[in-house]
């Protein structure tokens, strides 16, 4: 058993795909539709067969309420890891993303937080090495 896919809820598939590929730099992995249902995932080009992130359309009122609440509390819906947070921060910011927290030292890591424009905060983390 492996952890292979995790999901974030998004308010619009196309907008989310643009943000997660063109702004964050991930690559589309799987895109399948059955009637009105669409299964859409992205993966990191650094790990194309690694864990996928499903961009799940949020049509569920309960999920919408949860998503808005944790967004307002400043909690991330997903967390990505990098080996160079400063470089990713500059790259992603240059492509127009809004960071709600610039690279900041916390216990054992450096983190930044950005708005994915689809209803979520995303945390980018670089573990400290010592």
């Amino acid at each position: 058993m492996k952890i292979k896919v995790m999901s974030v809820y998004v308010d619009n598939h196309e907008k989310a795909l643009r943000f997660y590929t063109e702004v964050l730099g991930f690559a589309k992995k799987t895109d399948f539709s059955q009637g009105p249902y669409r299964w859409l995932t992205v993966a990191s080009p650094e790990d194309p067969d690694g864990t996928e992130l499903q961009l799940a359309l949020n049509e569920n009122p309960a999920a919408k309420a949860y998503q808005q609440a944790i967004f307002q509390q400043g909690q991330p819906a997903a967390m990505f890891f990098t080996d160079d947070l400063q470089a990713d921060y500059e790259r992603i910011k240059a492509r127009g993303a809004e960071f709600t927290m610039p690279p900041t030292d916390v216990t054992a890591s450096k983190i930044a937080m950005l708005n994915d424009t689809c209803g979520n905060l995303i945390q980018v983390t670089q573990l400290m090495r010592w």
């Binding site: 895109d31 059955q34 249902y37």
Partner: protein
């Protein structure tokens, strides 16, 4: 072997694409050896739909103005769409939405049977997938109406039953790249 195990869809046929800019509509035609009245019941009544259609309906689709919940069968997570029946001229024309897509059925009496035409404005990236899925559904519908039902074949069941070949054939007919699904590594040889 049961009829279901023996079932293999024929080659891709009877499909056209109508292109209105980025908006594409799949048009599928099938000739069925059954009366329009009989086909109409299969298109509208939940107990009939359950035997062949890619969704469950919680009430009849046969009354204009009604709202019906359609549940996509075989989707990885439950997916329910509110559907509005916008036209129901029994046994000739039936129109409703499925999520953000429009579905129109036309039934014409033809040689003692019915010429059934489906219009479905599937996103063009997935239109060959939809054609392949409906192709299999129509075969299952034909057997149901003939009194030899083989049971609904949708989702993963369809993938075991020639769906991938049909998807590739329809994509070729429509002049589009075959969508990468399922991922190559997961396919049988």
């Amino acid at each position: 072997m049961t009829d279901r195990e023996q079932y293999t869809p024929g080659p891709a046929s009877g499909a056209q694409i109508r292109k209105d800019g980025e908006r594409w509509t799949l048009i599928l035609v099938r000739e069925l050896r059954h009366s329009p009245e009989k086909v109409w019941r299969a298109l509208t009544e939940p107990a009939h739909l359950r035997e062949w259609a890619p969704f469950e309906a919680d009430s009849s689709l046969g009354t204009v103005g009604t709202t019906v919940k359609l549940t996509t069968v075989g989707a990885p997570t439950p997916h329910v769409s509110e559907t509005r029946v916008t036209r129901a001229d029994a046994p000739d024309v039936l129109e409703y939405n499925w999520g953000d897509q429009d579905i129109r059925w036309e039934l014409e009496a033809f040689g003692g049977g019915t010429r059934l035409t489906l219009w479905h404005n599937i996103d063009r990236r997935f239109i060959s997938m939809g054609a392949a899925g409906w192709h299999i559904c129509f075969d299952v519908l034909d057997r149901l109406l003939s009194g030899t039902p083989i049971g609904r074949i949708v989702g993963g069941e369809a993938m075991k039953c020639g769906w991938r070949r049909l998807n590739a054939e329809y994509a070729k007919q429509f002049g589009i790249a075959t969508p990468n699904w399922p991922p190559q590594a997961a396919q049988e040889s």
